[in-house]
Symmetry: C2
Protein backbone atom coordinates (compact mmCIF):
# COMPACT_ATOMS: atom_id res chain seq x y z
CA UNK A 1 0.00 0.00 0.00
CA UNK A 2 1.37 3.39 -0.98
CA UNK A 3 -0.42 6.29 0.59
CA UNK A 4 -0.86 9.82 -0.77
CA UNK A 5 -2.85 12.92 0.17
CA UNK A 6 -4.52 15.40 -2.14
CA UNK A 7 -5.45 18.81 -0.76
CA UNK A 8 -8.69 19.76 -2.50
CA UNK A 9 -9.50 23.45 -2.87
CA UNK A 10 -12.57 24.94 -4.54
CA UNK A 11 -10.94 26.79 -7.44
CA UNK A 12 -11.57 30.29 -8.79
CA UNK A 13 -11.52 32.25 -12.02
CA UNK A 14 -9.10 34.65 -10.27
CA UNK A 15 -5.55 33.25 -10.55
CA UNK A 16 -4.47 35.19 -7.41
CA UNK A 17 -6.95 33.12 -5.43
CA UNK A 18 -4.89 29.94 -5.74
CA UNK A 19 -1.59 31.45 -4.50
CA UNK A 20 -2.17 30.76 -0.77
CA UNK A 21 -2.95 27.11 -1.57
CA UNK A 22 0.30 26.75 -3.50
CA UNK A 23 2.15 28.34 -0.58
CA UNK A 24 0.44 25.98 1.84
CA UNK A 25 1.54 23.01 -0.28
CA UNK A 26 5.14 24.27 -0.22
CA UNK A 27 5.00 24.76 3.57
CA UNK A 28 3.69 21.23 4.07
CA UNK A 29 6.26 19.68 1.74
CA UNK A 30 9.07 21.46 3.59
CA UNK A 31 8.11 19.51 6.71
CA UNK A 32 8.33 16.15 4.93
CA UNK A 33 11.06 13.88 3.60
CA UNK A 34 11.49 14.17 -0.18
CA UNK A 35 9.82 10.79 -0.65
CA UNK A 36 6.78 11.86 1.43
CA UNK A 37 6.69 15.30 -0.23
CA UNK A 38 6.00 13.63 -3.58
CA UNK A 39 2.89 12.11 -2.06
CA UNK A 40 1.15 15.39 -1.21
CA UNK A 41 -0.55 17.15 -4.08
CA UNK A 42 -3.00 19.98 -4.61
CA UNK A 43 -6.13 19.83 -6.79
CA UNK A 44 -9.07 22.08 -7.52
CA UNK A 45 -12.73 21.14 -7.81
CA UNK A 46 -13.53 23.61 -10.57
CA UNK A 47 -12.27 26.70 -12.45
CA UNK A 48 -8.57 26.15 -11.58
CA UNK A 49 -6.09 23.49 -12.66
CA UNK A 50 -4.98 20.74 -11.98
CA UNK A 51 -8.26 18.91 -11.46
CA UNK A 52 -8.87 16.21 -8.86
CA UNK A 53 -9.21 13.57 -11.59
CA UNK A 54 -5.89 14.57 -13.12
CA UNK A 55 -4.07 14.39 -9.78
CA UNK A 56 -5.58 11.02 -8.85
CA UNK A 57 -4.68 9.51 -12.22
CA UNK A 58 -1.13 10.86 -11.93
CA UNK A 59 -0.65 9.40 -8.43
CA UNK A 60 -2.13 6.02 -9.46
CA UNK A 61 0.24 5.92 -12.47
CA UNK A 62 3.08 6.32 -9.94
CA UNK A 63 1.90 3.26 -8.02
CA UNK A 64 -0.12 4.93 -5.27
CA UNK A 65 -2.97 2.68 -4.10
CA UNK A 66 -4.47 4.65 -1.23
CA UNK A 67 -5.43 8.31 -1.52
CA UNK A 68 -6.90 10.62 1.11
CA UNK A 69 -8.61 13.69 -0.27
CA UNK A 70 -8.56 16.48 2.30
CA UNK A 71 -10.96 19.32 1.45
CA UNK A 72 -9.56 22.77 2.19
CA UNK A 73 -13.05 23.90 3.12
CA UNK A 74 -14.64 25.08 6.35
CA UNK A 75 -17.84 23.12 5.87
CA UNK A 76 -19.50 20.57 3.61
CA UNK A 77 -22.19 21.73 1.23
CA UNK A 78 -23.45 20.31 -2.04
CA UNK A 79 -19.96 20.05 -3.55
CA UNK A 80 -18.57 17.82 -0.81
CA UNK A 81 -21.79 15.93 -0.09
CA UNK A 82 -22.75 15.14 -3.68
CA UNK A 83 -20.47 16.29 -6.51
CA UNK A 84 -17.11 15.06 -5.22
CA UNK A 85 -18.36 11.66 -3.88
CA UNK A 86 -20.05 11.02 -7.26
CA UNK A 87 -16.89 11.98 -9.11
CA UNK A 88 -14.79 9.69 -6.89
CA UNK A 89 -17.17 6.76 -7.34
CA UNK A 90 -17.06 7.14 -11.12
CA UNK A 91 -13.27 7.40 -11.10
CA UNK A 92 -12.98 4.31 -8.87
CA UNK A 93 -15.08 2.32 -11.36
CA UNK A 94 -12.97 3.55 -14.28
CA UNK A 95 -9.75 2.56 -12.50
CA UNK A 96 -11.25 -0.82 -11.58
CA UNK A 97 -12.14 -1.48 -15.23
CA UNK A 98 -8.44 -0.88 -15.98
CA UNK A 99 -7.53 -3.52 -13.37
CA UNK A 100 -6.40 -0.94 -10.80
CA UNK A 101 -7.75 -1.25 -7.28
CA UNK A 102 -7.46 2.12 -5.59
CA UNK A 103 -8.87 3.34 -2.29
CA UNK A 104 -10.13 6.92 -2.50
CA UNK A 105 -11.11 8.39 0.85
CA UNK A 106 -12.84 11.77 1.10
CA UNK A 107 -12.02 13.31 4.48
CA UNK A 108 -13.99 15.85 6.50
CA UNK A 109 -13.34 19.48 5.64
CA UNK A 110 -10.05 20.59 7.23
CA UNK A 111 -11.83 23.56 8.84
CA UNK A 112 -13.65 21.10 11.11
CA UNK A 113 -10.40 19.69 12.52
CA UNK A 114 -10.04 20.66 16.21
CA UNK A 115 -6.53 22.08 15.55
CA UNK A 116 -7.85 24.40 12.84
CA UNK A 117 -10.89 25.43 14.86
CA UNK A 118 -8.66 26.28 17.82
CA UNK A 119 -6.33 28.31 15.58
CA UNK A 120 -9.29 30.34 14.26
CA UNK A 121 -10.43 30.97 17.85
CA UNK A 122 -6.92 32.31 18.63
CA UNK A 123 -7.03 34.72 15.67
CA UNK A 124 -10.42 36.10 16.76
CA UNK A 125 -9.37 36.47 20.40
CA UNK A 126 -6.20 38.34 19.40
CA UNK A 127 -8.28 40.65 17.24
CA UNK A 128 -10.72 41.47 20.04
CA UNK A 129 -7.78 42.25 22.35
CA UNK A 130 -6.47 44.92 20.01
Amino acid sequence: MTHACILLAHGSSDPRWSEPFQQLLIAIRQQLSSEQANRVELAYMELSQPSLTHQINTLVAQGVTDINILPLFFAAGRHLRQDVPQQLEQLKQELKSQGKSVTLMLDSPVGLAPEVNQAICQVVLQQLDQ
Copy 2:
Protein backbone atom coordinates in the same frame (compact mmCIF):
# COMPACT_ATOMS: atom_id res chain seq x y z
CA MET B 1 -14.52 53.30 20.66
CA THR B 2 -16.38 50.02 20.97
CA HIS B 3 -14.90 47.21 19.01
CA ALA B 4 -16.66 44.15 17.52
CA CYS B 5 -15.77 41.33 15.17
CA ILE B 6 -17.95 39.71 12.53
CA LEU B 7 -16.96 36.30 11.23
CA LEU B 8 -17.92 36.30 7.55
CA ALA B 9 -18.67 32.96 5.89
CA HIS B 10 -19.70 32.42 2.29
CA GLY B 11 -23.18 30.97 2.80
CA SER B 12 -24.88 28.01 1.13
CA SER B 13 -28.29 26.82 0.02
CA ASP B 14 -27.67 23.72 2.19
CA PRO B 15 -28.63 24.52 5.81
CA ARG B 16 -26.26 21.81 7.12
CA TRP B 17 -23.38 23.81 5.66
CA SER B 18 -23.71 26.58 8.22
CA GLU B 19 -23.66 24.32 11.32
CA PRO B 20 -19.85 24.28 11.76
CA PHE B 21 -19.78 28.08 11.62
CA GLN B 22 -22.42 28.32 14.34
CA GLN B 23 -20.40 25.84 16.42
CA LEU B 24 -17.25 27.87 15.86
CA LEU B 25 -19.05 31.00 17.06
CA ILE B 26 -20.17 29.17 20.21
CA ALA B 27 -16.60 27.89 20.84
CA ILE B 28 -15.20 31.40 20.47
CA ARG B 29 -17.83 32.96 22.73
CA GLN B 30 -17.13 30.39 25.43
CA GLN B 31 -13.59 31.74 25.65
CA LEU B 32 -14.77 35.31 26.17
CA SER B 33 -16.36 37.33 28.96
CA SER B 34 -20.11 37.80 28.44
CA GLU B 35 -19.52 41.44 27.47
CA GLN B 36 -16.94 40.45 24.84
CA ALA B 37 -19.07 37.53 23.63
CA ASN B 38 -21.77 39.98 22.57
CA ARG B 39 -19.26 41.62 20.30
CA VAL B 40 -18.55 38.57 18.12
CA GLU B 41 -21.12 37.81 15.48
CA LEU B 42 -21.46 35.60 12.42
CA ALA B 43 -22.68 36.73 8.99
CA TYR B 44 -22.99 35.22 5.54
CA MET B 45 -22.14 36.80 2.22
CA GLU B 46 -24.96 35.14 0.32
CA LEU B 47 -27.58 32.35 0.41
CA SER B 48 -27.64 32.10 4.24
CA GLN B 49 -28.87 34.49 6.91
CA PRO B 50 -28.04 36.79 8.72
CA SER B 51 -26.39 38.98 6.10
CA LEU B 52 -23.30 41.12 6.70
CA THR B 53 -25.37 44.31 6.32
CA HIS B 54 -27.87 43.12 8.92
CA GLN B 55 -25.15 42.29 11.44
CA ILE B 56 -23.29 45.56 10.93
CA ASN B 57 -26.48 47.60 11.36
CA THR B 58 -27.37 45.64 14.52
CA LEU B 59 -23.94 46.22 16.08
CA VAL B 60 -23.97 49.92 15.17
CA ALA B 61 -27.42 50.28 16.75
CA GLN B 62 -25.85 48.87 19.95
CA GLY B 63 -23.20 51.59 19.91
CA VAL B 64 -20.32 49.73 18.25
CA THR B 65 -18.08 52.12 16.31
CA ASP B 66 -15.29 49.86 15.09
CA ILE B 67 -15.93 46.54 13.34
CA ASN B 68 -13.42 44.02 12.05
CA ILE B 69 -14.81 41.66 9.44
CA LEU B 70 -12.85 38.40 9.47
CA PRO B 71 -13.50 36.24 6.38
CA LEU B 72 -13.75 32.53 7.14
CA PHE B 73 -12.13 31.84 3.79
CA PHE B 74 -8.83 30.29 2.78
CA ALA B 75 -8.09 32.80 0.04
CA ALA B 76 -9.38 36.01 -1.50
CA GLY B 77 -11.13 35.85 -4.86
CA ARG B 78 -13.67 38.15 -6.49
CA HIS B 79 -16.00 38.13 -3.47
CA LEU B 80 -13.39 39.45 -1.03
CA ARG B 81 -11.52 41.65 -3.52
CA GLN B 82 -14.56 43.36 -5.08
CA ASP B 83 -18.03 42.48 -3.80
CA VAL B 84 -17.50 42.82 -0.05
CA PRO B 85 -15.31 45.99 -0.21
CA GLN B 86 -17.97 47.65 -2.44
CA GLN B 87 -20.73 46.57 -0.06
CA LEU B 88 -18.80 47.95 2.95
CA GLU B 89 -18.08 51.27 1.20
CA GLN B 90 -21.77 51.71 0.36
CA LEU B 91 -22.80 50.82 3.90
CA LYS B 92 -20.25 53.24 5.37
CA GLN B 93 -21.72 56.06 3.23
CA GLU B 94 -25.26 55.16 4.31
CA LEU B 95 -24.25 55.18 7.98
CA LYS B 96 -22.40 58.49 7.50
CA SER B 97 -25.53 60.05 5.98
CA GLN B 98 -27.31 59.01 9.20
CA GLY B 99 -24.64 60.85 11.20
CA LYS B 100 -22.95 57.62 12.32
CA SER B 101 -19.19 57.39 11.90
CA VAL B 102 -18.21 53.72 11.85
CA THR B 103 -14.91 52.07 10.97
CA LEU B 104 -15.39 48.90 8.96
CA MET B 105 -12.18 46.92 8.47
CA LEU B 106 -12.08 43.91 6.15
CA ASP B 107 -9.33 41.57 7.36
CA SER B 108 -7.32 39.01 5.40
CA PRO B 109 -8.92 35.58 5.04
CA VAL B 110 -8.47 33.64 8.29
CA GLY B 111 -6.94 30.73 6.32
CA LEU B 112 -3.91 32.93 5.64
CA ALA B 113 -3.19 33.44 9.36
CA PRO B 114 0.05 31.64 10.33
CA GLU B 115 -1.73 29.84 13.21
CA VAL B 116 -4.35 28.41 10.84
CA ASN B 117 -1.79 27.48 8.20
CA GLN B 118 0.27 25.66 10.80
CA ALA B 119 -2.81 23.80 12.05
CA ILE B 120 -3.61 22.62 8.50
CA CYS B 121 0.00 21.42 8.11
CA GLN B 122 -0.43 19.38 11.32
CA VAL B 123 -3.60 17.73 10.02
CA VAL B 124 -1.90 16.73 6.76
CA LEU B 125 1.21 15.41 8.50
CA GLN B 126 -0.91 13.29 10.86
CA GLN B 127 -2.78 11.88 7.90
CA LEU B 128 0.40 10.90 6.05
CA ASP B 129 1.68 9.16 9.19
CA GLN B 130 -1.36 6.88 9.32
